[in-house]
C-alpha cells in the first residue's frame, strides 16, 4: 500500500494510514492555526469597516510621508518572505550555515518592520491620537480600530521573530529539522499576507 506508513506501537509493528493531505502533522496544525488567525484578523477588519460605515465623520490622519513609510514596511516584509523562502530551501538542502544566515536576515527585516511600525505609532500618538480620542474631531473609534488591528499584526511579527530565533537555534543544534523551518516559514508568509489587507484598508483608505 502506497498510502500507508509502518509504525511500532508496544513492540508490534502496525500499518497506519497516511495523512490524506500528504503533509506532516505540524504543518497541518499550522494551517489550522492560520485559518483561525485569518478569521480573527477578518473579524478585526470587519469591526473597523462596520464602525467606519456607521460613523458620520472619519479621520484621515495619514499624510504622504506615512503612506511612503507603509510602502517601505511592505517592501521590507515582502523581502523577508523571500529570505524566509531561501532559509527553507537551504534547510531542504541541509545547509545549516545558510539556514542560520537567511533566518538571521529574516529576523532583522522583521525587526526593521516593527521599528518602522512603532515609529508610525509614536508619530500618531505625538499628534494626539489615542485609543478613544480623535484630535481632528472625527470618530473616536479610529484610534481603537487602528491601534488594535496594527497592534495585533505587530504582535504577530514580533512573535514570529522570536519563534524564528528559537527555530534557528534548534536547527543549528540538530534538535529541529527542515520541516520545522518550513512550518515557521508558513507562519511568516501568513503574517505577510495579512499585511496585504491591513495596509490598503488601514493606511490607504485613511490617506489625506
Amino acid at each position: 500500500m502506497n498510502q500507508s506508513e509502518l509504525a511500532v506501537v508496544g513492540g508490534h509493528s502496525i500499518e497506519m494510514e497516511a495523512s490524506p493531505y500528504g503533509i506532516e502533522k505540524k504543518k497541518l496544525g499550522m494551517w489550522v492555526f492560520i485559518v483561525s488567525d485569518a478569521c480573527t484578523f477578518g473579524a478585526f477588519l470587519f469591526a473597523y469597516g462596520y464602525m467606519r460605515i456607521g460613523a458620520p465623520v472619519w479621520g484621515t490622519p495619514f499624510e504622504f510621508s506615512s503612506i511612503m513609510n507603509g510602502v517601505l514596511m511592505t517592501t521590507i516584509l515582502l523581502s523577508s518572505s523571500l529570505t524566509m523562502l531561501a532559509a527553507v530551501r537551504s534547510a531542504q538542502a541541509g545547509d545549516k550555515a545558510a539556514v542560520g544566515k537567511w533566518l538571521g536576515v529574516t529576523m532583522l527585516l522583521g525587526a526593521a518592520f516593527a521599528a518602522l511600525h512603532l515609529r508610525e505609532w509614536f508619530k500618531l500618538i505625538g499628534e494626539g491620537w489615542r485609543l478613544f480620542y480623535n484630535p481632528t474631531g472625527g470618530a473616536a473609534q479610529f484610534g481603537a480600530t487602528f491601534f488594535s488591528v496594527t497592534g495585533l499584526h505587530l504582535t504577530h511579527v514580533v512573535s514570529g521573530v522570536i519563534a524564528l530565533a528559537f527555530i534557528g537555534r534548534g536547527y543549528s543544534q540538530g534538535r529541529y529539522d527542515e520541516s520545522h523551518v518550513e512550518t515557521a516559514g508558513l507562519y511568516w508568509h501568513f503574517v505577510d499576507l495579512v499585511w496585504m489587507f491591513v495596509f490598503p484598508l488601514m493606511y490607504l483608505m485613511n490617506a489625506r
Binding site: 490524506p20 493531505y21 500528504g22 503533509i23 506532516e24 494551517w31 485559518v35 485569518a38 478569521c39 477578518g42 473579524a43 470587519f46 469597516g49 462596520y50 464602525m51 460605515i53 456607521g54 460613523a55 458620520p56 503612506i67 510602502v71 511592505t74 517592501t75 515582502l78 523581502s79 518572505s81 523571500l82 523562502l85 531561501a86 530551501r89 520541516s179 518550513e182 508558513l186 508568509h189 501568513f190 505577510d192 499576507l193 496585504m196 489587507f197 495596509f199 490598503p200 484598508l201 490607504l204 483608505m205 490617506a207
Partner: protein, 100 residues
C-alpha cells in the same frame, strides 16, 4: 512536504516584484480621488489578488495536494463572508444619523 515541482528562487523574486507592483498601483489609485466605495472595491480586489498569489506560491499551496486547498479555503472564505451579514446594520446606523 511540498513536491519537487517548486519554482526556482528567481521566479519567487519575480512574484515578490509583482506583488510590489500591485502595492504601487494601490498607492496610485489612492491619490486619484476616487469615490470611497470605488476605491475600497479596487483596493480589496487587488489585496485579494496579492493574497491569492502569496497563498499559492509563497505558502506553496499550489504544490500541495488539492485536497488541502479544498478543505481549508472554501470554509475560511465562507466564515469571512458571513461576517458581512452584519454590514447592513452599519448602513442603518449611518442613515439614522442622516435623518436626525
Amino acid at each position: 512536504m511540498s513536491s519537487n515541482r517548486e519554482l526556482a528562487m528567481s521566479s519567487y523574486v519575480g512574484i515578490a516584484v509583482g506583488l510590489m507592483v500591485i502595492v504601487g498601483i494601490e498607492v496610485i489609485l489612492t491619490y486619484q480621488h476616487l469615490p470611497p466605495r470605488t476605491l475600497l472595491f479596487c483596493l480589496l480586489c487587488l489585496a485579494c489578488l496579492e493574497a491569492f498569489a502569496a497563498v499559492m506560491y509563497l505558502m506553496h499551496v499550489k504544490y500541495e495536494k488539492p485536497i488541502l486547498f479544498w478543505t481549508i479555503f472554501p470554509a475560511t472564505l465562507l466564515v469571512l463572508g458571513f461576517l458581512c451579514y452584519l454590514l447592513p446594520d452599519a448602513f442603518r446606523m449611518a442613515s439614522m444619523r442622516l435623518l436626525r
